[in-house]
């Protein structure tokens, strides 16, 4: 069978998925959790509990603060100790709800049993409401509220639901583990979203460096027998997991700049999101747990883990439990090495979409000295959006916002391919990201 991939740009970093064979372990509960009200893209949620309130796991503690926003639930049972600013991983103050853990009692109606519920409900509005009430957000990186994405404007028609199991970032293995360990739930979740979108085609796209995941999903699709659903192996290339690139790879359609995926009839949801949708709709379980990889190039094999964590545990708690920060770690990243956020504050709390704790050694991560551009064009060759990072870099240095916009700086998906491949270590993406911030302001 012909393997699919996106045609334009892209790079091939070393796979380095060291934690591939580490089965998902459940983290024990910490004495206290900090629940951020900003765990999703869009307006922060508004706390709806008061200090001293008793809460149960799965109970709503903050309500959406706008149309694009999401419910936030308590990941544990206990008492609300404080509500106030606490620093997130970037060191910026964000409102957190501090909950002291007492026991592990879940809110009523939440089904924690492992039995699979394969029957797909048919009431579209009720399912959407359930997904919204469970606070499900996209777990592929952007944490966009899922109920908004699954409810495209009536004039547009979804032709294909793509479940993103590409996990193209090096090191990360959390999606891989859930695809291998819980393929049935992912497939049911996909079928639910298929129903919500009006019975369109569904493609589970997985990169071919994960043959076990492809096999597991295929077996599961065959076993459960939902109509119009297939597993598509993709040729390994970064950034395949990017929405635009994935649609191009699977459907051969390119979204226009500024347009949403639905404009070419596609809806992309991450494999982890499919699992969260399954749990929300079939089990009534809100999104308070997720799988996170602890890995890195300076970590010995037995210290690598894939953990089922509760959103609100601090990163430092997880790091300690996993055996502490390795001595030669120079940078800690929340996420993959290509797009992950650097962690400036390890005491920060995890959020719904926390993908990984990645320890990188100085050798692997410290940037080389910036040299002059020799016009080799590698950045332009690597750019999956067909942009010219060398040109954008030059314009950004000159502060020419108009020319930056003309050269489609806002179309940059910040995948990092340009800086990754620049032989002169020119901080292309630093400048382009900054220019994007300025260009959006104007």
């Amino acid at each position: 069978m012909r393997k699919l991939t996106f045609p334009m740009g892209g790079v091939h970093p070393d796979d380095t998925k060291y934690a591939r064979d580490c089965a998902i372990e459940v983290l024990p509960l910490p004495p206290v959790v900090y629940v951020s009200v900003s765990q999703h893209l869009g307006a922060p949620a508004v706390p709806c509990v008061a200090v001293g309130d008793k809460v149960k796991a799965g109970q709503v503690v903050a309500e959406p603060g706008g149309f694009i926003s999401a419910y936030v639930h308590s990941p544990v049972s206990g008492t609300v100790k404080s509500i106030g600013p606490r620093k997130d991983i970037a060191g910026r103050p964000v409102t957190h709800i501090e909950i002291v853990v007492e026991g592990d009692e879940w809110a009523e109606g939440i089904d924690l049993s492992p039995e699979l519920v394969p029957e797909i409900p048919t009431d579209r509005a009720a399912v959407l409401e359930k997904i919204k009430a469970a606070g499900v957000v996209g777990l592929g990186g952007a944490t966009f509220p899922t109920h908004v994405k699954l409810n495209p404007p009536p004039e547009s028609k979804a032709e294909c639901l793509i479940i993103d199991g590409a996990e193209c970032e090096p090191y990360l293995t959390s999606d891989y583990r859930i695809m291998v360990e819980r393929p049935d739930e992912i497939v049911v979740g996909a079928a639910i979203m298929q129903m919500v979108l009006g019975g369109c085609r569904a493609v589970l796209a997985v990169e071919d460096n994960k043959p076990e995941a492809i096999e597991a999903l295929r077996a599961s699709v065959a076993r459960l027998g939902y109509a119009n659903m297939e597993v598509a192996p993709l040729k390994c290339k970064y950034p395949q997991g990017s929405e635009k690139q994935l649609i191009d790879a699977v459907l051969g359609r390119q979204t226009k700049p500024g347009a949403l995926p639905i404009s070419v009839g596609a809806v992309v949801q991450n494999a982890g999101t499919a699992l969260a949708v399954y749990e929300a709709v079939q089990k009534n379980k809100p999104l308070v747990t997720n799988v996170l990889t602890v890995t890195g190039d300076c970590l010995s094999g037995e210290k690598m883990h894939n953990y089922l964590f509760r959103a609100g545990m601090t990163l430092s708690y997880i790091a300690e439990y996993a055996g502490g920060v390795p001595a030669d770690a120079a940078k800690i990243v929340s996420g993959g090495p290509m797009m992950g956020k650097p962690i400036a504050n390890l005491d920060a709390a995890t959020v719904k979409g926390s993908p990984a704790i990645l320890y990188l050694s100085e050798e692997a991560t410290r940037r080389g000295k910036e040299g002059p551009c020799i016009r080799c064009g590698r950045c332009a060759d690597a750019c999956p959006m067909g942009l010219e990072p060398f040109l954008l870099n030059r314009l950004a240095k000159a502060g020419d916002i108009e020319a930056l916009k003309e050269n489609e700086v806002l179309n940059c998906i910040e995948c990092g391919c340009c800086l990754y491949s620049c032989p002169a270590y020119i901080p292309l993406l630093d400048r382009i990201r900054t220019a994007k911030v300025l260009a959006k302001k104007r």
């Binding site: 600013p85 620093k87 970037a90 060191g91 910026r92 103050p93 940078k331 650097p342 400036a344 504050n345 991560t365 410290r366 940037r367 910036e370 901080p427 630093d430 400048r431 990201r433 900054t434 911030v437 300025l438």
Partner: protein, 290 residues
């Protein structure tokens, strides 16, 4: 040989004549009529084209001044009252005098006061750093130290102090054009009234964290304790979001707040050094104090 030279001269001279006629005709045909006062106004402008007035350069300022019915809201901060008087004379308008302003850096998070908590390894730009995270210290509000303001200043009035890692304003060169204020992503630079003989009092901190958090991040942080507001006789000090702010329009430069501040976050500049009263024994030493 002679013939060649003559031909060459003739052809070149003819060419020059024809081209100059064309140039003359084009200049005549595409001549743009402009109010001559624009040139006059532009001539008295400082010519820095800094944009501090809000217009795109001195010529745009001159055009706007000529087109406007009066000089309300049209002020060249660089040229100040002197230049504005000349502009007003040319246009026959009334001038609105403005108090001279100066840029002040409202952060004292020097390397010593505010220890680094991580190492920034990216492009040396405050804008880029601010787009990424809160900064390489425990303070999420203060100076990022990459010197965007220094680069933005066209008058060479700003420099980074290598010892503190903070920008320093040279008030003799500062024109209050506001370029640094617009550039600083943290908004720590403010244009304040220069004050009589340059004397002014301001809070050198923008940290809105709670006192304990702010103090932990920076030894010179304003902790929002409110002692300054209590001693202020002119009601110039407000405390909002755990941060004190002195209104320079109301401040009477009594300096009581400076003495009261427990973290030394309030700074008074250009006040005459108070000489300790010479005791009779030390009269002879007075000269060395001066």
């Amino acid at each position: 040989m002679t013939e060649t030279i003559l031909w060459t001269v003739a052809i070149l001279a003819g060419l020059g004549l024809v081209l100059s006629v064309i140039l003359f005709l084009i200049a005549k045909r595409f001549r743009v009529e402009e109010d001559p006062r624009i040139d006059k106004v532009e001539a008295v402008m400082p010519g820095a084209n800094c944009g501090g007035c809000g217009f795109a350069g001195c010529r745009a300022f001159a055009s706007a001044a000529v087109a406007a019915p009066n000089l309300d809201g049209i002020f060249c901060p660089v040229g100040g009252n002197d230049v504005m008087k000349q502009v007003a004379d040319i246009l026959g308008y009334e001038v609105q005098e403005q108090a001279p302003m100066v840029a002040v850096v409202r952060c004292n998070g020097s390397c010593a006061n505010r220890p680094k908590t991580n190492e920034y390894d990216g492009v040396k730009s405050c804008q880029a750093k601010a787009a990424l995270y809160a900064g390489d210290t425990g303070c999420a509000f203060g100076c990022l130290g990459c010197g965007d303001c220094v680069a933005a200043c066209q008058f060479g009035a700003l420099r980074m102090d290598p010892e503190t890692g903070l920008p320093v304003v040279d008030e003799t060169k500062c024109t209050a054009c506001g370029a640094c204020v617009r550039t600083c992503p943290k908004g720590i630079i403010e244009l304040r009234k220069k004050g009589p003989r340059g004397m002014r009092v301001y809070v050198r901190c923008v940290n809105k964290d709670k006192g304990a958090v702010a103090r932990k991040a920076c030894a010179a942080a304003c902790i929002g304790c409110g002692k300054c507001a209590k001693v202020c006789a002119s009601d110039a000090i407000t405390i909002e979001n755990n941060l004190s702010y002195i209104d320079f329009e109301k401040c009477r430069l009594c300096k009581k707040c400076v003495a009261e501040c427990p973290t030394g976050a309030i700074l008074a500049v250009n006040f005459p050094v108070v000489k300790p009263k010479p005791s009779p024994v030390e009269v002879n030493k007075e000269e060395s104090h001066a």
